[in-house]
Subunit: 152 residues, 6 copies
Amino acid sequence: MEKIAVFPGSFDPITVGHQSIINRAVNIFDKIIVAVGDNSEKENFFSIEQRLKWIELVFANEDRVSVSRYSGLTVDFCKKVNARFILRGLRTSADFEFERSIGQVNKQIYPEIETVFLLTTPEHTPINSSIVRDILKHGGDASMFVPPEVEF
Amino acid sequence: MEKIAVFPGSFDPITVGHQSIINRAVNIFDKIIVAVGDNSEKENFFSIEQRLKWIELVFANEDRVSVSRYSGLTVDFCKKVNARFILRGLRTSADFEFERSIGQVNKQIYPEIETVFLLTTPEHTPINSSIVRDILKHGGDASMFVPPEVEF
Amino acid sequence: MEKIAVFPGSFDPITVGHQSIINRAVNIFDKIIVAVGDNSEKENFFSIEQRLKWIELVFANEDRVSVSRYSGLTVDFCKKVNARFILRGLRTSADFEFERSIGQVNKQIYPEIETVFLLTTPEHTPINSSIVRDILKHGGDASMFVPPEVEF
Amino acid sequence: MEKIAVFPGSFDPITVGHQSIINRAVNIFDKIIVAVGDNSEKENFFSIEQRLKWIELVFANEDRVSVSRYSGLTVDFCKKVNARFILRGLRTSADFEFERSIGQVNKQIYPEIETVFLLTTPEHTPINSSIVRDILKHGGDASMFVPPEVEF
Amino acid sequence: MEKIAVFPGSFDPITVGHQSIINRAVNIFDKIIVAVGDNSEKENFFSIEQRLKWIELVFANEDRVSVSRYSGLTVDFCKKVNARFILRGLRTSADFEFERSIGQVNKQIYPEIETVFLLTTPEHTPINSSIVRDILKHGGDASMFVPPEVEF
Amino acid sequence: MEKIAVFPGSFDPITVGHQSIINRAVNIFDKIIVAVGDNSEKENFFSIEQRLKWIELVFANEDRVSVSRYSGLTVDFCKKVNARFILRGLRTSADFEFERSIGQVNKQIYPEIETVFLLTTPEHTPINSSIVRDILKHGGDASMFVPPEVEF
């Protein structure tokens, strides 16, 4: 059975941290679907189209990685695309506490879906999309925190 | 002197975690008042009337538990109802850091009021009202995380 | 039914933090048994006799507090003395993680025994017996961190 | 070279915790600039003018402390005022995780700027501006958590 | 290329938590080697022979799981057995902080080896080998925390 | 008044993390004394002479940094050498909880001594002396985690 993992998130925008997690995870799974949440009620900084396009550009040469938009529960999307795994990166213990709740609740809803975690590398640990947006809002240069394909 | 405890919260909605804490706390206190914050500026998912009604249904057969709505400071409500104790459940260390600040500040305002903590059971640790609301927003089934009296 | 709580620990030595927790807990329980672990394999700084004597002195005028030594599991001691509650103080989130494991395991062994937590006051948060011993080992003055009845 | 530190924040309002950090930091630096973020998109409780005025009153007799408003990135403000140091207080491990991300990202943007941390004193650990605002919103008395110069 | 994961530890003794992690991980990897550290300087509760035997019994019917003893660095053992993955379970944020350091250091030594984390289930979160040993030392019954094949 | 900071520790051995903290701290203080604890009861991996010698070699060309051995309380050593500051690096939130207790207790003993914290850089966050010793004990190569002057 093919091992498909969903890597869900807002990716608002994708960071070098996300990129590194995905690049390492292709050694574990047969296929990774980067699933961009299309959450109408949440206000995003970049449009869903822009966020999807950047991810496509970043993984243009990586056949095992595809990009999808989804709404609804992440576990429902997993079932729809036959993914038995959810992939997440862990940066800090605050991250961990949050991810543990989500992961354990997801498992209670669909016990056959497993969340698999990789560590961010030390140099990516302080970086997340929220800090990137904050730098942009204040007129700073955030290019060192995103893949070169992401141009603001 | 009667030992009255206030269990304050939004209960938006009440979860199996809340229920378990209250059911265990009736062995400690003579009376528990579940106090639902009526916070006009905070947007709630369920109306205050709905939230109160569910709690009443859940504890319909438990004389030692009553339900009240309140606004203003929790410690002021405690004084009004002659409660010397605030009851809180602890799930995670993130919870703990938050509760410690509130509890220590409350004690500084009214030294005679004591906050008493019980642990959630392991299986309830990942569950809170925010996750329940999130499941509902995304069209999922959250019934396993709330008491049977809560029907969405 | 009388509400008896066991406050277990090494108390090597008792600190102002322990004292404050006990003094506040007498408002919750009918009786508090300070239970000093007599753990032959663990090396203690002060003898079990010395540790017991200090606690007796500190609570000499408090009828609701008694002192006992015990070995074996804390929950077994609770059953023996008809205590349905274990009392613990919480200082930090590191404390919390540790206490949560112990508390949840204890509940799994004897579901009828409940662990009840109080917060240390802010000024006692940095203090524990281990820091007191460390000060003493290095020839410092630790008297401000222990009750006046504890004389080194 | 003069050692200038920027102490950035919303100060909505300044608390006794902020005051204590600044009063202790004047022994480390030659000059401290309390930098109040003028963030048009973030809704504040007190106006920027009010927040600035309170800080000026609190440090009216301390020549080494001045007050400024700024917008944009904190590190850009530091460069503008020739500050090589950012001063921050640490209360809890939740604080720490947040501050570490910001501090490490700031250092990556401008490696010559160093963030320096002081601990809050134990009695100030539970207090922050958000809790002060919460007390005020609920009609409580928050005067014990702010310097006497702050009158609501 | 075969996906081999090493699950390293002391397993002093193996718990239901370890068992659950391994049973779920066989869906991710082709082969899992439970690697029991033979650390002469660390004093263990059960002999290395006993610890190995229990694990063999627990996974006697699972072809994809084997058991080995090893000494030296875990990453050196991984290289020796052609494992590109280290498998670890995460229970608490204290666990996480510890595992992150080890995982990031391992990756710095051998960048081609990836540590993969699964969450313990909520009911196993409070359990670890150290608590099991503690129960045994105090004469308690720890059988509910270990697989049935482990008989004390 | 000269600003003297003591950087206390076991330095068993000094790591690239320690080195980085000291190199950045010379911009804050006039003089930094690396104070190596000579704790007869604690068993060290490297002799006090070896540990001192390595630190001297690492800072041979930095006039503002000197090395001392000391026993007794760190705050007593500070008073003896007229240091008003204790310098510490912060890596993780586990570190932070530990350092906060020590720092707040030190301040209670000698209010005039201030502990000042710097963040480790992201790439040094996973590294500490204990991990270096662990690598060495298991026959690994730890040279990338220590300054080049440290030769095992």
